[in-house]
């Protein structure tokens, strides 16, 4: 126990050590976190009136980001599945980064839900009268909470075992890894069901939402992880093989293709039948009754995704630099598609046919940026700690001062 506390203490100290780039990055993130916190404090005082949400469009950026990040969290399994099911060992050492990212993403998800609540002080009510299994939101609480615990356990165990110079015993983590694979798919499915289950919102009430969610998550998540791995191998001095990145690239390519295919299926169904259910889709893609708020967004998303897909498929863009571009395009494209493109249009027009558009306010945007910055801060610290531990620079038995060890890690 004492060893463990000492481990945590050393990790804590380690997170304050780095070069000027690290400081700059962390300071920047901290400032954004504080700005977000300040914006949230204002929201607590004045209520959600400081957001762009209305009774007509009652969910906005917060739930959009939540939805997106659930997908990102679920995408960690796309690193795990090849390793533990298909025995692709080039990814083995990278699984931990995926899982750490999942932890950070789930924390962000929970924060986004929290800031969306009108009465966050009553959050505890969920433990006292839990409308399970009727409300999909309770399923989501279980799914997200469970996934967070699973990943914390797996990451914590692997890192701590490395710290103690022990070979991790498969008994203590492999079963959890398999549970986590199923669980990851379930968190995203359950989140999709959150929307799909609402009969009064035809835009959501379609079975294709869940598979589309998964496909886009499995594209955007690994894309984001590819980008972080590129950063890690550049700045944190951790070996990431090109083969691993290529494997991830294949995963992303397939997922993105499926995502685009499902999009085409959905568009055909909606537009060919041309029924009254089309209103929200029409608003999203073409504009409705002179309102076009989301049209530029969705076409930007589709353009970005298409370009990314072309880059992934063309033979002369196989280099990793192009991969980075494609990943950035996908991360942004899918964010728009699942955020502004999935959550908001279902509210426009309202069930009574009223057209009220949604435009986030500055305060709302600051809260979102704050949460994102907090998530990245967490992830940076996780990586900052786990890299020296996994490379054996920070262990229980080292007689080298932590300063030297950590500095060594940076110097790489």
């Amino acid at each position: 126990m004492k060893t463990y506390l000492n481990f945590l203490w050393r990790c804590f100290r380690l997170s304050f050590v780095g070069d000027w780039r690290y400081y700059g990055w962390m300071l920047g993130l901290t400032i954004i976190v504080l700005l977000g916190l300040n914006a949230y404090a204002k929201q607590l005082v004045y209520g959600l009136v400081v957001t762009g949400m209305t009774d007509q469009v009652s969910w906005g950026l917060y739930i959009a980001n939540f939805t997106y990040l659930v997908g990102m969290a679920a995408a960690a399994v796309m690193l795990v599945i090849p390793v533990y099911i298909y025995r692709k060992h080039e990814l083995h050492d990278l699984v931990i980064f995926g899982e750490l990212f999942a932890v950070a993403a789930i924390v962000m998800c929970l924060l986004f839900v929290q800031v969306d609540l009108g009465r966050p002080d009553r959050f505890m009510h969920i433990f006292w009268r839990f409308n399970f299994p009727v409300s999909m939101l309770t399923w989501d609480v279980i799914a997200l909470g469970g996934y967070l615990l699973l990943n914390l356990h797996i990451c914590g165990y692997l890192v701590y075992a490395a710290y103690r110079n022990r070979k991790p015993s498969p008994r203590f983590y492999v079963p959890f890894v398999f549970v986590a694979i199923g669980w990851a798919i379930s968190i995203h499915t359950v989140t999709a069901f959150l929307f799909v289950g609402l009969g009064g919102r035809p835009f959501w009430n379609t079975a294709i939402i869940a598979p589309r969610f998964l496909a886009s998550a499995f594209a955007a998540g690994p894309a984001f992880i590819i980008l972080t791995l590129q950063v890690i191998r550049r700045y944190a001095g951790y070996q990431v093989s090109n083969e691993a990145l290529r494997l991830l690239r294949n995963i992303v390519t397939v997922a993105m293709t499926v995502n685009m295919f499902l999009l085409v299926c959905e568009l055909f169904t909606e537009f060919y039948a041309d029924s009254a259910h089309l209103a929200s889709t029409k608003y999203l893609f073409l504009g409705l009754h002179g309102h076009h708020g989301l049209v530029p967004w969705i076409w930007t998303a589709i353009t970005l995704n298409t370009i990314a897909l072309i880059i992934l498929y063309l033979p002369f863009t196989q280099s990793l630099r192009f991969l980075n571009i494609a990943c950035v395009l996908m991360v942004v494209g899918i964010w728009i598609e699942k955020g502004m493109g999935l959550v908001v249009p279902a509210f426009i027009p309202t069930p009574l046919g009223e057209m009220v558009e949604y435009q986030p306010t500055l305060n709302e945007a600051l809260v979102c940026f704050g949460i994102w910055a907090f998530g990245l801060l967490l992830y940076t610290i996780f990586v900052r700690i786990s890299v020296p531990v996994l490379t054996g620079q920070l262990t229980l038995n080292d007689n080298v001062t932590p300063q030297a060890a950590t500095a060594g890690a940076i110097a790489k």
Partner: protein, 263 residues
């Protein structure tokens, strides 16, 4: 950690502390500046006030539209209550054909094909109403008279599908007050008059409401205020003022609904 190469330590001592020092000195001041900005910066949130459509109590009356006539109807002349027959017994009824009214000129008769006074009023006893067979009834039985032409409506009224029922739904706990035909309809001009509608809600009630969704305006002007929150509020207040100034006074006069009669 034993295999840590020597050059790393050198690297550490040579570059890292030096790099750290200047970067680290910035952190404190930056945080202080941020704190100052939070406390004295521009982002003070104001909230829209006075967005309520004004309604006066008289417009929300639950009283019947018309007062029901007495039985027999009376009119006050010189401090005394007079019934119809107090005058009409002095003037014997004239026979057909009916002539234009010389008295009671305020009455507008606009009752479809029912254009003759004596379709409803008894020609001999003006304190009574007359049914189509010549049978007379008193004024408190007016529904029976209406029912002679408006049978289905009468039947609906009897069962509560037509007409107002006020007070209590539960007869065991209070009066169920079913309004009678002439409490809503003027028998001479039975169409329900058109009304002045109360104002709609100005818009979705958040800071966004200033940006009229009806016109689909995309955003506010950029220059006035840096803080979009404030900008939205100011715009909202300006719009409200404009709206209040430009809105013409609504006419008070009652118009009669000239649309298709559903009965």
């Amino acid at each position: 950690m034993g295999e840590t190469p020597k050059h790393r330590d050198e690297h550490d001592q040579r570059s890292v502390p030096a790099q750290r020092s200047w970067a680290a000195y910035c952190i404190g001041p930056v945080f202080f500046a941020l704190a100052a900005w939070f406390l004295w910066g521009p982002a003070i949130v104001e909230l829209p006030i006075e967005s309520t459509p004004k309604v006066n109590a008289a417009q929300l009356t639950t009283a019947p539209r018309r007062e029901i006539l007495g039985n027999p109807p009376t009119i006050e002349i010189g401090g005394f209550k007079r019934t119809c027959m107090d005058c009409h017994q002095m003037f014997p009824p004239r026979d057909d054909p009916p002539v234009a009214l010389a008295q009671h000129k305020h009455i507008v008769l606009n009752h479809g094909i029912n254009k003759q006074c004596r379709n409803c009023h008894d020609s001999k006893d003006r304190n009574l109403l007359v049914l189509r067979g010549g049978e007379t009834i008193t004024y408190d039985q007016v529904e029976t008279l209406c029912a002679k032409c408006h049978g289905p409506t009468f039947r609906d009224w009897e069962h509560g599908a037509h007409g107002r029922t006020n007070g209590y739904w539960d007869a065991s706990r209070g009066t169920v007050r079913r309004l009678r035909c002439t409490e809503c309809h003027d028998p001479h001009n039975p169409r329900v008059p058109a009304m002045d509608p109360l104002a709609p809600l100005p818009g979705p009630h958040t800071l966004r409401m200033g940006e009229s969704h009806a016109e689909g305006e995309s955003g506010a002007s950029h220059a006035e205020h840096r803080d979009p929150l404030r900008r939205a509020i100011h715009k909202y207040i300006a719009d409200e003022r404009k709206r209040a100034e430009s809105k013409p006074e609504k006419s008070e006069k009652v118009e009669y609904y000239k649309g298709e009669d559903s009965e």
